[in-house]
Each structure stands twice: as C-alpha cells, then as structure tokens.
C-alpha cells in the first residue's frame, strides 16, 4: 500500500472588519467599492425590511457605481428553511449570478443565516457581506460566520461556518425595530454580560431605569461591547470545537422552551428563560453565588423579558427536547453554567433529576 499526503496546512485569510456607527451606509458603499470583492452585488432581504430600507441601501451602493440586484423573501422564521435556500438559488441563476457576484444580507438573524448559507454553497462559495438590521443580528448573529437552516427533521440541521467579507452595523436601523424584536436582542446582550462582562449588565440596568434603552449612544455602546466579546471568542474557536460553546449559555433550555411553545415565545424570550434555568442549575450545583443568579434575573426583568416558564408549556416536552438537543454528543447533554458572573464553563454531567426540579421550580 502506497500513501500520499495532501498537504493543505497553510495560513488562511479569513479576517474581516466589523464597522459600527450611525448612518454608515454611504461609507459602506465606499468601502465596498474600494475593496472590489465582487463585480456585482445581490441583496438578500425580506419583504418587511425591503419596504423599510431596501431602496436606501440599494442607492447607497449605486452611488458608488456598484451594480445591485435584489431578492426579497417572506419576513419571519418560516423563511429560514431549506426550501427558501433553493428558491433563492433559482433566483440567483435567473439573475445570472456567477462567481464574481457577492451577496449582501440585509435583515435580521433569519436573513443573515439564509444568505450566509446560500453564499457558502452557491457555486462552491461566493462572498457575502452582512448588514444586520435587528439588535439580535447586530450584537450577535452577524458575527462569526455560523449559519443554518431548518429541514423537516430538525432546526439548523443544515449549515456551515462561513465568514463574511465584512459586517456593517448601522445603529440607525434599530429605530424601526418592533419592541418584541428589540427585547429579543437584549437577551443576547445580557448573555454577553453574564458570560464575560458584568459591566454590560450595569450599563443595561442603568439605561432601563432611565428609560434610555433605545438611545443611540447606549445602543452603539452595547452592540460594540457584544461584538468585541463575540469576536474574541470566535477568533479563538471559529468552528465551535470548545470555547465557542459558552455562547450557548441559556440556549440548551432556551431552544427546548422555544420549540415546546410552538415558537410562540421569541428566541430572546426563550433564551432569557434558559439563562435563568442555567443560573439556577449553577447555583444548585454550588458553583454560582445566589446573588449572581438574582442579578441575572433582575436584569432580565428590567429588559422586559420573562424569567419563568409559562404555565401552559409541557415540562416533559421541554425535557425530552433538551435530551435531543443537537449539541448533545453521544448521550451527554452539555450545559453552559457559570462559576460567577463573567466566568462560564461547560458542564456535561448535570443530573436529569436536577434539571427536572429546576424546570418545575421555574414554572409560572
């Protein structure tokens, strides 16, 4: 038997910049024109965002002599499915998109995931630029290249790690963001506070008390803080082999609650409940001081997010969904817990009985 080695160990060149500010679309156009990532651009957006911001983004790019086309899908989670991936693919070919075409994801987490995934598999990969328009996407999901879509047999079952060429975060988009979506984004910001930066929680509580959660300077500050934390984690563990798992704080129970509610609870509401569950588990296992757990609960309330499991949800359904969580490996369910605020760790051995008691205790 002969053995040949294919030597592909080399330096990759996947670095990119996150630009954050208010009304930065014109500067974005200039940056795209200067970098020449593609000969033409196709915006992927949803009908709601398109009506609000589509023309403005398109003309900001056209002012810089960039060719822009546009594909709009239905607004909402129902578009984050493999069927939409195929529909967008058909539209891309109809527009004659080739390897010299870049996608521009204009929208929230659904659009970012959809466009990121399509870009990663269309003709074996074309560039994608992220323009997140929701707080959740600006503070979290537009950074780090993780994407995914649902299939009939699972949430986020198909996806890739695929880094964008650049991320442009215009805080001005948040003006038109509905309250529920805004609160959903705050849940992820609280997550970053809990796992890395308790000062972020101070900032959030102060703003909430002053009724200033929607002020631009505050938003720019928390988005920048969240992006800085996330980028640091992604730099160390791009493909979620270890450290990056701490970003799932609140998500193990959160995903299960979200699914058990039939998606009537938003992602942010579910993650808020999941963070309280994780903090409670951590306290019961004698890791997290009670004060830290209470602190998390109080910030969640200040943000207008739920800290209890709605009484109409079936706890057995939540528990069986936790066991099936796609982050399970073999039979072990990984929980991200805290030793104190800002100090997360992954615990693979939480007793099932304790999970059960904790969920029961959190029921409304």
């Amino acid at each position: 038997m002969k053995t040949l080695k294919v030597n592909l160990d080399r330096k990759t060149n996947h670095s990119y910049e996150i630009h954050i500010g208010e009304e930065i679309l014109d500067r974005m156009g200039m940056i795209l024109a200067r970098n020449g990532w593609a000969g033409r651009y196709i915006m992927i957006t949803d009908n709601r965002i398109d009506a609000l911001h589509g023309d403005r983004v398109k003309s900001a790019l056209e002012k810089c002599d960039l060719r822009v086309d546009r594909i709009a899908v239905e607004h909402g989670e129902a578009s984050k499915v493999i069927g939409t991936v195929l529909a967008v693919t058909e539209k891309l070919t109809a527009l004659g998109a080739d390897r010299q075409t870049a996608l521009v994801a204009l929208g929230g987490g659904v659009i970012g995931d959809l466009a990121g995934f399509v870009a990663s598999i269309y003709m074996r990969g074309i560039p994608v630029i992220q323009i997140p328009t929701t707080l959740l996407a600006q503070a979290d999901s537009s950074i780090g290249g993780k994407n995914g879509v649902d299939t009939p047999s699972g949430k986020n079952l198909l996806g890739t790690f695929y880094q964008p060429k650049g991320v442009f975060i215009d805080i001005a988009f948040l003006r038109t963001l509905p309250d529920e979506s805004f609160r959903s984004g705050l849940a992820e910001v609280i997550k970053y506070g809990a796992i890395e930066s308790p000062e972020l929680l101070d900032d959030l509580e102060t703003a909430a008390a002053a009724g200033a959660l929607r002020e631009v300077s505050f938003l720019e500050r928390i988005v920048t803080a969240a992006c800085r934390i996330k980028k640091g984690i992604v730099e160390l563990d791009e493909r979620e082999l270890g450290l990056r798992r701490i970003l799932n704080f609140g998500h193990t129970v959160g995903h299960a609650v979200e699914a058990a509610s039939g998606y009537t609870l938003s992602h942010g509401e579910s993650v808020a409940i999941g963070m309280v569950a994780a903090a409670t588990l951590a306290e019961r296992l004698h890791y997290l001081p009670a004060d830290d757990r209470r602190r998390i609960v109080s910030v969640i309330r200040a943000a207008g997010l739920p800290d209890r499991i709605p009484g109409n949800l079936d706890l057995d359904s939540i528990r069986s969904r936790i066991a099936r969580d796609k982050k399970k490996e073999g039979e072990i369910v990984h929980f991200v817990l805290l030793k104190k605020l800002g100090t997360p760790f992954v615990n693979g051995g939480v007793p099932a009985e304790l999970v059960k008691e904790t969920l029961e205790g959190l029921r409304q």
Copy 2:
C-alpha cells in the same frame, strides 16, 4: 464609525492521506480505528455498489470494532441532485447521526460528491472518508474536496470545497467496473497525461497495445500517478482561484457536449471529445504542435474513447452551452489550452468564430 477586526488568519489543519493498494480494506479499518475521527460511521453508497461491495466494507470496519450504518441511494447521475441531499439528511437524523458521526463515501463520483457535500453541511460539517470504487473517482474526483450537486437550474450549482479526512483507494474494486465506466476513468487519466505527464500517455498506449489496460499493476501505477499530479495542484490552489483551473482541460467543450447529448454520452466520452477540441483550438492558435495534437487523439482512440462529435448533436446547442458554462466570469469563457504536452495554460480570449469552426471540423 468604529471598526473592529475579526482576526481569523491562522494555520488550518486540512492535510490528509491517500492510501492506494490492492485489497486494503482491512488496513483501512485499522487506520480508522487508530485515528478515532468519529464515534460511529455511516456509509453512503448506491444500490449497485452496495450489492457488490457493501457487506465487505461494512464487515472490514466492524472487525475493528467500529459502529457502521448504511444509507444506499439509487445508482446513477440522477442521484447527484439536491433532492437526494435532503433525503440522505432525513435518513441521517433518523439514524441519530450527530457531530461525532463520520460519513464514508463508498462509490463513484456521484457518491463522492453527494456524501462530501452532505458532510460539509450536516450540522455545519462532519468528517467524511472517501472510498472511491470507479477509475474516475480513484484517479480524480475523490481527491481535492471539490463537490457539487445539480438543481433544476444548473449542474453542480450547489457545492463546497470540503476535504476528506482520508482517501482509501482499493484497486480491487476496479475488477467489477463495467467497461464504459472504465473508459470514462481513462479519459481523466489521459487528461493528467496531457496537462502534466506525457509519460503517462506512453504507459497507457503501451498497455492498450498489450491488451493490459485492466491489469492491476498498470492500474495502480496510473492511479498513483494521477493522484500525485492532482494532489500537487490542489496543494497549490485548493479553492480553484487560479492554477487548479487547468484540471478543466477538455471540460469546457466536454460539459457542453455531455449536456447537448442529453447525457447519453458519458462524462469520460464527453471529456475525450473536449480534449480533442481544446488541442485543436490550441493548434489553430499556433500554440500546440500538430504532432502533440495527433498524439492526444491517438491515445484517446487507443483507450476506446471517441475523438469526434456525434453527427446527431446540435452544434448551436453546444456553442450556447459553452457560453453559459459556469466557469465563465462576466462575458469571458476560459479555455484551458496546451503550449505542448504537459504545459497547459488558461486562455480567456478564444474568438467565437474559431470555436465554431473547430466544432464543425470535429463533427462526425
């Protein structure tokens, strides 16, 4: 406007080994067991290969205490489509496949592409091991990580570059390979001879004259030579940004002829015709000596492959398909031509009239 940089420039670890020999399945089992790439393995194969070799491969792995399941799709090109990707995905979830699962692609180019693509997007990427069973897959498509499937709007429209963990080439599989498929593989071997190693053409002609094209020692020699050439090219240009394009020698006209025939011509037959067309173009443009062009034609004939376009094919249809070739960028069609045997180059400016005349001249 603030700018944060996400620093992802780092060393990747994508190297892998190609093992080539006769009856190497037992050694493969030991290598997999030793490397521990996954906690369990799921074989992706087609019904024809499964009937011939499925049990043998499965038991070779089980002898080494590896857990093996199996998914078989229909034999043939019709399985290299996005619909099969989704069907396989459903079966993987039904089998409980998670991130600790690796796929084993057992089959020809269709299975390698299908399993490679599924592995690259299932739960954002799980390991894949390639066990190519056809000459085409052994000498060419199982190496280099390029995969793709068809959608209603295009051939290979969706795909990724995704490297396997290892490639195991057992020459013994070629014993059961039908003649047409065998000749199809020879076309790719001739391609490697034409672009890099004229000695490979000598070897092939000698074996053909001696009626020894199916002898194991000859096959092991040409497969190893082709793998060595391909690995060298892939090492320099994993993502086909430049050099790797020379692997498309014969494929621009080849793909067009294949499609225009309604896929009644095999890939290898089409590439053979495409190589004659490229050589003829190169000669007419005063790059390639006439002797070298005649040499290519004579090896193609010796291998039992066609060197003329069948009279029933529509030349206009072939020409318009060349213009739409997915490798076009903007309006330029890239042809891989030769300066002499072993010296390929990419020419973007072949006059349309010359292409037309060449195709007419090659008509039967």
